[in-house]
């Protein structure tokens, strides 16, 4: 008994350490990877609290190490997005696998009637409003002074006039994106209280204008920050994120990329990071939870949290870290029903945001035959289904989807445009038809096929002359063994125009794929590598947040 406790402690602590060296792969027990399908966490262990959490909380690692020493409670994290986490709780997928959840906000989760019996107690640990971080030069050009008097209306006007381009995380996944969407819809509808469906209708024209300025989307706030840093100087003027994230970014951003935090004067939505005990937890873990939350709310710990993360303390008598403004902002209500919340998200995906141009480069070489090809067909097929109330998966109205099937060379290129409204279903069925018709034979020419994808995009862009979120997904199960080499591709990419270079590649690791090659492609193009070895469905779904 005692021995297993010690073993548990070692494993748990190793996990905690692993999170603080997340980029390295050699720690004895890497943190459990969590996609939308959230695989089971390790079974319950003494002194270990299994927590399904938002990846934003990685910045608390030093505090949690100190907490471990003070309380004997090790936090073992698995990461997922706020709204996916809410789904997991509601659907009972956290029962027995996690003891607690910890996301920026539980507001979306509270809209689900079923969640009431799943949550035992919720304790806010720290707070941060969702704000606009505006590059200082842009703020000056717009004549907004120190940014303390800016309204959502000012932001929309600047965006629709082409004077403000910004990045924002996908609201169907991320609490920061969703909070911004609710804030802006509240401001434009003139709603003085929680949004209704009529308010959303009323705000639609102004919302469309506002979202013409959104040039970056992301499934996670971490990648959004990276994309901002690597974007061509001046092309992205602002980021929507938590005040704490924006201020923390300034610690490493170059002088000309520094962000001024703007909390619009007509209201914001704040995250309060409730550490939440699940009612499925056992007595031993409930006691661990109690020890941990008491520790985290101590005055000295709250001060440390605020200084480390630039979030605001929630314990009375603790002053916020230096640099956090203390003038209050109206806190906007969060919609009171799931119908309003999901309706707003669905409008965002299918009507309000800029449409996407999405190119899939799919490996159908001989090695894909059998189970692998059926997994691919299933994962792609899920993106054409109708069962998706808040727009997490399915190809959106107005989206242009191109399927490039390749082996030794490109075998076929098929493009579909999903229309708005009633016709969408038929086009989605047609995409699925093309997916199900894929067959496997031949070698693997990864780089040549990617080059072809960039050329396809160039042709589509010049033919349509439009303005879309553009990205490439690359799915392969093997090493590139035919056609262009890594070096050839690098030369090809360097020769592209800056507009073309802005198209990222999101490779999916699958089967016997060469991880080094795929990581190299992601790094070169500003994309991100996804792991489809656990769940290919999960990887394809997660990437939707970046498209």
């Amino acid at each position: 008994m005692r021995r297993s406790g010690v073993r548990g402690l070692i494993a748990g602590l190793a996990l905690l350490v692993a999170t603080s060296v997340a980029a390295c792969t050699s720690s004895p027990a890497p943190p459990p990877k969590t996609g939308p399908s959230d695989p089971p966490a390790a079974s319950a262990q003494p002194g270990v609290l299994r927590v399904l959490a938002g990846s934003e909380l990685q910045d608390l690692a030093p505090v949690l190490e100190e907490a471990q020493k003070a309380t004997g409670v090790t936090v073992q994290f698995a990461w997922t997005g706020s709204l996916d986490g809410a789904d997991a709780v509601s659907a009972g997928r956290t029962d027995g696998k996690y003891d607690a959840i910890w996301f920026p906000s539980n507001q979306y989760l509270h809209l689900d009637e079923g969640s009431k019996s799943k949550l035992l107690s919720e304790t806010p640990i720290m707070a941060s409003p969702v704000a606009f971080g505006i590059r200082s030069a842009v703020l000056g050009d717009l004549g907004w002074g120190d940014g303390s008097k800016v309204t959502w209306g000012n932001l929309a006007e600047a965006a629709s006039g082409g004077k403000l381009s910004y990045g924002m995380a996908d609201p169907s996944r991320s609490n920061s994106g969703f909070s911004a969407l609710v804030s802006v819809a509240s401001a434009f509808s003139g709603a003085n209280a929680a949004l209704t469906e009529a308010d959303v209708q009323k705000a639609t024209p102004q919302l469309k204008q506002f979202f013409t300025g959104q040039k970056l989307t992301s499934g996670s706030s971490g990648w959004l920050a990276q994309a901002y840093s690597r974007a061509e100087r001046g092309s992205i003027g602002a980021l929507v994120n938590y005040e704490s994230v924006l201020l923390s970014m300034n610690k490493t951003l170059a002088a000309d990329q520094q962000l001024t935090v703007v909390r619009p004067t007509d209201g914001v939505i704040s995250a309060n990071y409730p550490l939440t005990l699940l009612s499925s937890s056992a007595q031993r873990e409930r006691e661990s939870f109690q020890r941990l939350t008491s520790y985290l709310l101590k005055e000295d710990v709250q001060k440390r949290i605020s200084e480390l993360t630039l979030r605001r303390p929630v314990t009375a008598g603790v002053a916020p870290a230096a640099g956090l403004p203390t003038d209050r902002r109206h806190e906007l209500p969060f919609p009171g029903t799931r119908a309003v919340a999901d309706g707003l998200l669905s409008s965002y995906q299918n009507e309000l945001r800029r449409p996407s141009r999405t190119v899939y480069v799919l490996d159908t070489s001989g090695s894909m035959a059998g189970q692998r090809l059926s997994s691919l067909k299933s994962a792609m097929g899920r993106l054409t289904g109708a069962d998706d109330t808040r727009g997490v998966r399915r190809f959106r109205d107005r989206e242009e989807v191109t399927l490039i099937s390749f082996a030794s060379k490109v075998k076929s290129t098929k493009t579909h445009s999903v229309p708005t409204g009633a016709g969408a279903q038929q086009e989605l069925a047609s995409i699925n038809g093309d997916v199900q018709a894929l067959s496997a034979d031949g070698g693997t020419a990864v780089y040549s096929s990617l080059q072809e994808a960039y050329r396809v995009i160039q042709r589509q862009q010049s033919a349509a002359g439009d303005d879309r979120f553009t990205s490439i997904v690359l799915m392969t199960d093997g090493e590139s063994n035919e056609g262009a080499s890594d070096k050839d591709f690098r030369t090809f990419y360097e020769g592209l125009s800056s507009a073309q270079k802005a198209t990222p590649v999101f490779p999916i690791l699958f089967g016997d794929a060469a991880k080094g090659q795929l990581q190299g492609i992601a790094d070169l193009t500003g994309g991100k590598l996804f792991d489809g070895t656990g769940s290919l469905d999960g990887a394809f779904e997660e990437i939707r947040g970046y498209q």
Partner: protein, 375 residues
């Protein structure tokens, strides 16, 4: 690089392990004659049971108490295996749980606390200028006009529409509909008590005697005070902590104990003001013992002088004459040591002319909650 990290990790793991084994705090160690109990308490009492002085005072009575926090109306729904007691923040969920478990014992109310509104000085001033709040000249106690507030809800008043002061002089955080931020009445006692209070006022200052008395008209008015809030939190600690963190909800319904605790600790936010609704409702913190162990705790909380002092430290009003006298003495002592009058507390609600609404039966409460949520 890989190896370095690997070694580093192992070192950290070992270092942490040694430290953890040496430094890990022991749980409460029961003596040979002590009994250990586990119970579920409203979140507003979590800090009380966590306090080392409380643990020591309970230990002196031979009790080692483990608690978990939950919303008062959640306690009945949650799995209650191995619990010795539950301690919700009002009598109604306590009675409901007692009935569910076929218990014979009478639930005990060791202490209570009226509902108040926490706000900022600047907001209280705006309310005063529009006759929605007033401050007594001698006692300095602030009162909030529930009738004025409910009339405003009826007329869809917003902060912008209040005539005083002119728009450019109003505090920037006062935007939108005027409502009290409460908890979800389905899960939390303070949210449910709020409906009790509003329904009493809507029913011509009479408690609604039977579910049928919750008319459609009353239901619509309850919806009008609840729905502008959008999604609500599940327990009273959360909106109060949001307030403390500076989150811009200007009027937050809380227990007097939450505000008083901070004032006694001298930790209240610098610009906090407490308003008593002119008709309020009292939260009767009621403990339901499932067995003799639970009953021993209930008795200790009700009659132990040391525990009574600690209850006051957390802002609760102990039951009974001795409790009231101790509470009044403490409030008097604190207020005389605070130069500013903005924290004025009313030890005697009757003297302060704060009237109290009667809380209806659980059946009526359920009807009120359903009506407010348009179910």
């Amino acid at each position: 690089m890989k190896r370095v990290i690997g070694v580093l990790t192992v070192l950290l793991v070992l270092g942490g392990l040694v430290f953890a084994v040496v430094n890990r705090k022991p749980g409460p160690k029961p003596g040979p004659n002590d009994i250990t109990l586990t119970g579920m308490v409203g979140s507003e009492k979590g800090a009380f049971f966590d306090d080392q002085q409380v643990k020591d005072a309970l230990k002196a009575r031979g009790l080692v108490v483990n608690t978990q926090s939950a919303g008062s109306w959640q306690m009945g729904d949650l799995k209650n295996d191995n619990l010795d007691f539950v301690f919700p923040a009002s009598q109604q969920p306590a009675e409901a749980i007692k009935a569910d478990h076929n218990l014979k014992s009478t639930p005990t109310r060791p202490f209570y606390s009226p509902l108040v509104i926490v706000t900022y000085k600047s907001t209280a001033e705006v309310l005063r200028q529009n006759n929605l709040a007033s401050q007594d000249e001698t006692s300095h106690v602030w009162k909030f006009s529930m009738k004025g507030f409910l009339d405003g809800v009826e007329n869809k008043t917003t902060w912008q529409k209040l005539p005083n002061p002119p728009a450019n002089e109003k505090p920037g955080d006062l935007v939108g509909s005027i409502f009290l931020t409460t908890t979800n009445p389905e899960t939390s006692s303070s949210g449910a008590l709020y409906l009790a209070m509003v329904s009493y006022l809507l029913n011509a200052n009479q408690v609604i005697p039977a579910p049928a008395g919750v008319t459609q008209q009353i239901g619509e008015k309850l919806q009008a005070v609840i729905s502008p809030q959008g999604v609500m939190k599940n327990s009273t600690e959360e909106p109060f902590m949001d307030f403390v963190s500076g989150n811009g909800r200007p009027l937050v319904l809380a227990y007097e104990s939450q505000a008083l605790e901070l004032v006694l600790k001298k930790k209240a936010p610098a610009d906090m003001v407490m308003l008593y609704p002119d008709t309020t409702v009292v939260s009767d913190h009621t403990i339901v013992a499932f067995n003799d162990k639970g009953q021993r705790l209930a008795d200790a909380l009700a009659d132990d002088p040391a525990l009574r002092e600690l209850e006051i430290k957390y802002g609760f009003r102990p039951s009974g004459a001795a409790g009231a006298a101790a509470f009044a003495a403490k409030v008097h002592e604190t207020q005389s040591s605070i130069p500013e009058a903005r924290f004025a507390f009313a030890p005697d609600l009757g003297v302060a002319k704060v009237s109290q609404a009667t809380v209806p039966t659980p059946a009526v409460m359920k009807q009120l909650v359903d009506a407010a949520k348009a179910k």
